[in-house]
């Protein structure tokens, strides 16, 4: 299969104005102006196959949304090659955007004052969606996303979750082959998140829509994506299967212990104390060297234990470790 997205050596540089601080600084800002160049995206290479659902992760300011802006044709790259869906996005904007969908969690594509259904009707016209196809899609989304209760409500009066459901429908009405989701679950409660995730997974499986998803909610990734890309300071730190990430960097399991009485020194052979907070201590241990029951045995001979819990390495800890310890710096 030919890849749907081909990116090589992609870069984007911005000029940034340096601010001075304080009263004197603000006077200085009036008089002088200094710029520095920021490499928001600094040489990224990857490919995506049709039908993939990829999580694109990174802390704030890592270059996630700059990448997405280049992929959607909003920004022209400073350097590198970019081919999506057979197009160079920024060169053939109108033809290109007709075949993609995009949802930016922070803002809506819908018309603020209009009832949802009228916004969708307007989009049918704008994307020139054949009428029967439009109704077919609309019926499906109404059912899957339960749009009916607020179909006639103006967008400005929708809750965040409702708005996201409406926006997802809007982005998919014209059967895009590729869907960009920027923080689709931001600010939603657990139930709403789950509904959105199920829908995204469903679209990916049933329609074969290729989806690239940026998020900083890692449970999004754990529940939906097989492949993840991690970006930090403009560079791709990891690109591969989620399971590989876990194996390589998942590292230690955790044991959380609540002691029955306070101890000053809670160290133990075979485990490392991550955190000690009052009566509670968190240990990290390597499952290959010591089993959980062995460790608990050792602990209970030395301390009086009230309660305990064993935790598997979750992706959040994994990624935090990658950032904090610069684990991937060397593998680049």
């Amino acid at each position: 299969m030919r890849p749907i997205i081909q990116v090589s050596g992609l870069e984007k540089h911005f000029k940034v104005f340096k601010h001075h601080r304080g009263l004197w600084g603000s006077l200085l800002n009036l008089a002088t102006r200094q710029y520095s160049v920021v490499r928001a995206v600094d040489g990224i290479t990857f490919e995506m196959q049709p039908g993939e659902l990829v999580g694109y992760l990174g802390p704030n300011g890592a270059g996630k949304s700059t990448t997405i802006k280049m992929l959607t044709g909003l920004l022209v790259p400073s350097a590198g090659e970019l081919r999506v869906n057979g197009f160079v996005p920024w060169k053939e904007r109108q033809a290109y955007v007709a075949r993609i969908g995009a949802v930016f969690g922070q803002r809506t594509t819908l018309w603020w004052d209009l009832p949802v259904i009228e916004s969708l009707d307007l989009l049918q016209y704008i994307y020139q969606i054949p009428t029967d196809r439009y109704h077919q899609n609309l019926a499906e989304f109404r059912q899957l996303l339960e749009l009916d209760p607020f179909l006639n409500t103006p967008v400005r009066s929708l809750s965040l979750g409702q708005r996201m459901r409406a926006d997802l429908s809007a982005a998919l009405l014209h059967d895009p082959t590729l869907l960009f989701l920027d923080e689709p679950t931001i600010g939603l409660d657990v139930v709403a998140k789950e509904r959105i995730r199920q829908f995204i997974g469903h679209i990916n499986r049933q329609r074969g829509t290729t989806i690239i998803l940026t998020t900083h909610d890692l449970s999004d990734v754990e529940k939906m994506c097989e492949r993840v890309m991690i970006i930090d300071r403009g560079r791709l730190l990891f690109d591969g299967q989620l399971s590989t990430l876990r194996e390589r960097f998942g590292g230690k399991r955790q044991l959380v212990v609540d002691f029955a009485e306070p101890y000053e020194d809670v160290s133990i052979n075979g485990a490392e104390v991550y955190k000690q907070d009052g009566l509670r201590a968190t240990y990290g241990f390597d499952g290959k060297e010591i089993t959980a029951s062995e460790l608990i045995g050792r602990l209970s001979t030395r301390y009086r234990i009230h309660d305990l819990e064993v935790r598997a390495p979750d992706i959040e800890t994994t990624i935090r470790r990658i950032y904090e310890e610069g684990l991937l710096e060397s593998t680049r």
């Binding site: 009263l23 603000s26 006077l27 800002n29 009036l30 102006r33």
Partner: protein, 263 residues
């Protein structure tokens, strides 16, 4: 007191942060000033003076009125309204100071920054381009300074009062817009009030508006002698008191409404 000083300082800094905006504002104010000079000179024709205002005075008048646009926020000021609409008002009310003083301190910093960065350069540009007039002696400058401060107080307490409409209606910006437009025409900002028919002047002086612009101009140009000067400055002071008192009453009613309706 230290709190107020800090608030003013912050507002001052905020105001001078935007170099491009300041420069753009200056250029715009100056351009419109030149436009107004041309219109006034066309009106004057061959007259050397009208109602005690010489041609040079008239030119100076446009400089002063353009220079006070930013200082008095003559075109727009929706900060209080926005704080009501965004709900920021709730946390402002928790601060250990009166809501009125909280905003007055900030507006003071903003006004002083505007006076220095927008007012003074415009007057300097006018001095360079035209043969403008100046207040007579130290006394003249002192009277002008006092009139400026009183004008700012009238202007602020008026703007604050109008902003309180936000407690009652979701469309207070429309009311604000209307209030600003009316103030341009009745304050002497468009034309010195002396050029108008007498009935219109009397009408203007029933409102607080002439005390924002027209008074500072007449004081600057030295059109008011001894007792007239004292009367003009006192009239400004009286309006300040009236507007502040009204503002307090209305604010109280607005806050009660806010508490009862929960915003």
């Amino acid at each position: 007191m230290r709190l107020y000083w800090e608030l003013s300082k912050l507002a001052f800094q905020r105001q001078i942060t935007y170099r491009a905006a300041t420069l753009a504002g200056l250029v715009t104010n100056l351009f419109f000033g030149l436009l107004r000079v041309a219109v006034l000179m066309a009106l004057y024709g061959s007259r050397s003076q009208v109602e005690g205002i010489s041609a040079a005075d008239a030119i100076t008048y446009t400089g002063i009125s353009q220079g006070t646009i930013a200082f008095l926020s003559l075109f727009s000021w929706y900060e209080v309204m926005n704080s009501v609409y965004t709900g920021a008002v709730a946390s402002d009310l928790l601060k250990p100071m009166s809501y009125f003083s909280f905003w007055m301190a900030q507006d003071f910093g903003r006004a002083i920054a505007s006076l220095l960065l927008r007012g003074a350069p415009i007057l300097a540009a006018y001095a360079f381009l035209f043969d403008i007039t100046y207040p007579r002696g130290v006394g003249g400058w002192a009277a002008f300074g006092l009139a400026l401060i009183l004008a700012w107080l009238v202007s602020f307490s008026w703007r604050f009062l109008v902003s309180l409409a936000a407690f009652w209606t979701p469309n207070a910006q429309g009311i604000g817009r209307l209030a600003f437009i009316v103030s341009w025409f009745l304050s002497g900002f468009m034309m010195p009030l002396r050029f108008f028919p007498d009935w219109f002047i009397s009408l203007c002086y029933l409102t607080p508006f002439p005390h924002m612009v027209n008074t500072i101009i007449e004081v600057y140009l030295g059109l008011l002698a001894g007792p007239q000067l004292v009367a003009a400055l006192s009239a400004q002071a009286v309006w300040v008191l009236v507007l502040i008192a009204t503002g307090r009453i209305v604010l109280g009613a607005g806050l009660r409404r806010l508490v009862i309706q929960g915003g």
